[in-house]
């Protein structure tokens, strides 16, 4: 059994505090590692990577029942990365969870790398479906959840979507159907950083009242601080309890979280820090890690 599996087995006896500390450390590592990938590759989507890092760390390093050694196990939990452009966060998590060697992160976006700009399941174990164009992950996740419902399987399906992505009509087609089917095995996490590529979501095509929209579609809705590992873990622990309807977690996040000059700046949706900015980012993230350890 790999590290993730062992950690999961120990979850029951670990305190929320120690679980959260572990997630926090892993998320900090992901942030530092993905920034290096972006600097080395000369491109990437740091804003969304950083806003989703804590959510993805909580899932991969605590919640998901997955084995890197059997990525196609029929009863595995599924994580669907609907916001497929945030590969920095996804690939660091997959490497950290043992799906491939950490060293391979150095090939990010290089010719013929398995680490394409958007995830590809035929290249890389642990990827459930190829995403990139927005609005694709949720319908596929709904299909997986329907299969689980038909088979009375006990795997759970998690989907991470951007908030801007909710402007895609296919997301609401899928949300409507998930509500209709009462898919209790399905959890959507919205990375609610309130920014899309060029501007604020509310200035572009407003999403609010967002919770009301999901409730109207037959979903249970909870809100959480998307950068508080303990709160995320508590919410996910509740998410996996039996229920008769799908659950959406609206995670309040900050685009670019963890790097002061990137935070809440739409311009860092994609972009590459220069040498000075990169040093500054590592310094800030290092200080955060140190503060956490003490």
């Amino acid at each position: 059994m790999n590290r993730v599996g062992l950690e999961r087995r120990e979850t029951a006896v670990r305190t929320l505090e120690s679980r959260a500390a572990h997630v926090r450390e892993r998320a900090n590592w992901m942030r530092r590692r993905l920034l290096r990938m972006i600097v080395d590759a000369g491109q990437g989507h740091p804003g969304g990577d950083l806003s989703s890092a804590d959510i993805i760390a909580a899932l991969y390093f605590d919640i998901l029942r997955i084995e890197s050694t059997s990525p196609a196990a029929p009863n595995r939990d599924r994580f669907v990365m609907s916001k497929g452009h945030c590969t920095g966060a996804l690939y660091t998590a997959l490497a950290g969870a043992g799906f491939f060697e950490e060293q391979e992160l150095e090939t990010y976006l290089k010719p013929e790398s398995r680490l394409n700009g958007h995830p590809n399941r035929t290249y890389l174990p642990g990827v459930e479906t190829n995403t990139g164009p927005l609005g694709h992950g949720l319908p596929v996740a709904v299909g997986i959840a329907v299969a689980g419902q038909i088979d009375r399987a006990d795997y759970r399906v998690f989907v991470l979507t951007g908030d801007g992505e909710l402007q895609e009509g296919s997301m609401w087609e899928a949300a409507m159907f998930a509500g209709h089917r009462g898919l209790g095995n399905l959890t959507v996490i919205i990375d609610r950083n309130r920014l899309q590529q060029g501007a604020g979501t509310e200035d572009t095509n407003s999403l609010e009242p967002l919770a009301d929209k999901w409730r109207a579609f037959g979903w249970e809705v909870v809100g959480v601080d998307g950068h508080d590992p303990a709160a995320l873990l508590e919410t996910f622990d509740r998410a996996v309890e039996p229920r008769g309807k799908p659950l959406v977690i609206i995670a309040d996040t900050i685009k670019g979280r963890g790097v002061s000059f990137m935070e809440n700046q739409a311009g860092w949706h994609h972009g590459v820090p220069n040498a000075e900015q990169y040093a500054q980012a590592l310094k800030e993230l290092g200080a955060e890690l140190e503060a956490e350890m003490n």
Partner: protein, 319 residues
């Protein structure tokens, strides 16, 4: 709406499609059907009665339908995703590309009542671009069966094939074709239904029986036309096409656009490997109001139209 019944001696290929999917479902619990409110037009009412848990009706939402199909495949199912060909292909094109083909998910897409079956309902409801669009997508098998036997065989082959498949299923009545005993269907293989060395007529779907009638008429004039059924458009049976090119003349005909589909696929191959004179019969684009039968006649997708094109092509070769 009462199910339409085909005239005596003719068959609606949807019947073979549902009969085969039901047969497969009875023996394999992984088989499920996904529809966009199209239970009736896909003739899946009986499937729903027999396998109520395995008929997933997403409502009128084609993007979600195809995405859900890909998800069901991820969950170990073999989904037959069925909807009117026009909506299934055009509305959900990116889901077909990204979720099914690029993701290599085991989804079977069934374009029902395709081609110009909806006749008078107009270009929004015609599915004549589908083969041109879908054969441009990598790693997606595209099959256009000609009659009930081939429809059933194509469905079985699709179920056995590990990967995404599009099957274009007509509702236009067609006869059951005569085949040699022991005939088999295979993805990537065409079949020679009539031998002939003067010209080759390469067709599929509803054009196959029309091409056979054209070949019979040409034979009476001393022209030996070979008729090749190329149900498998992608992958194409290039051996049969290379042999067809050696006759010196190829006619293609399909219930679809004249450009980009079966004829386009064969022209691409021949231009690069075996240059040969060709005529490609099909529809020019958005079509005027008219019944399916009228449209087929109007655009020469008939025995007489194919025979006339063959005579004309042979005439250009000899002058």
């Amino acid at each position: 709406m009462a199910a339409a019944t085909a005239p005596a001696g003719l068959f609606d290929c949807r019947d073979a499609y549902v009969r085969t999917v039901e047969e497969l479902a009875a023996n394999d619990s992984r088989i499920v059907a996904v529809v966009n409110d199209s239970v009736g037009s896909s003739k899946l009412g009986k499937f729903r009665e027999r396998f109520p848990d395995r008929l997933i009706n997403v409502g009128i939402a084609e993007q979600n339908m195809v995405g859900v199909g890909a998800g069901l495949a991820n969950g170990g199912k073999i989904p037959f995703v069925s909807g009117a060909g026009c909506f299934l292909t055009a509305r959900a094109m990116e889901q077909i590309k990204a979720d099914c083909a690029y993701s290599q998910q085991n989804v079977k897409l069934c374009g029902i009542s395709s081609g110009v079956a909806y006749g008078e309902l107009g270009a929004t409801h015609h599915s004549i671009e589908d083969v041109a669009w879908l054969r441009a997508i990598d790693k997606l098998t595209v099959i256009v069966p000609a009659d009930p036997w081939e429809t059933a065989e194509a469905i079985r082959a699709a179920a056995a094939h590990d990967g995404p498949v599009y099957i274009k299923i007509s509702r236009m009545p067609v006869p059951a074709l005569e085949r040699p005993e022991g005939a088999t269907f295979a993805i990537g293989k065409g079949e020679v239904l009539r031998e002939g060395g003067d010209i080759a007529i390469v067709v599929n779907g509803t054009l196959v029986h029309r091409a056979l009638a054209a070949a019979a008429a040409l034979a009476a004039e001393g022209i030996a036309a070979r008729v090749i059924n190329m149900a498998s458009v992608s992958p194409l049976d290039t051996d049969l096409i290379a042999a067809a090119a050696r006759t010196g003349a190829i006619i293609t005909a399909e219930e679809g656009l004249a450009q980009g589909g079966l004829g386009g696929a064969i022209a691409e191959y021949c231009a690069q490997h075996d240059p040969v004179r060709m005529r490609m019969l099909g529809f020019p684009g958005f079509l005027p109001t008219g019944s399916a039968a009228w449209l087929m006649e109007r655009y020469g997708l008939s025995a007489t139209g194919i025979a006339a094109a063959a005579r004309e092509l042979l005439a250009t070769r000899t002058t």
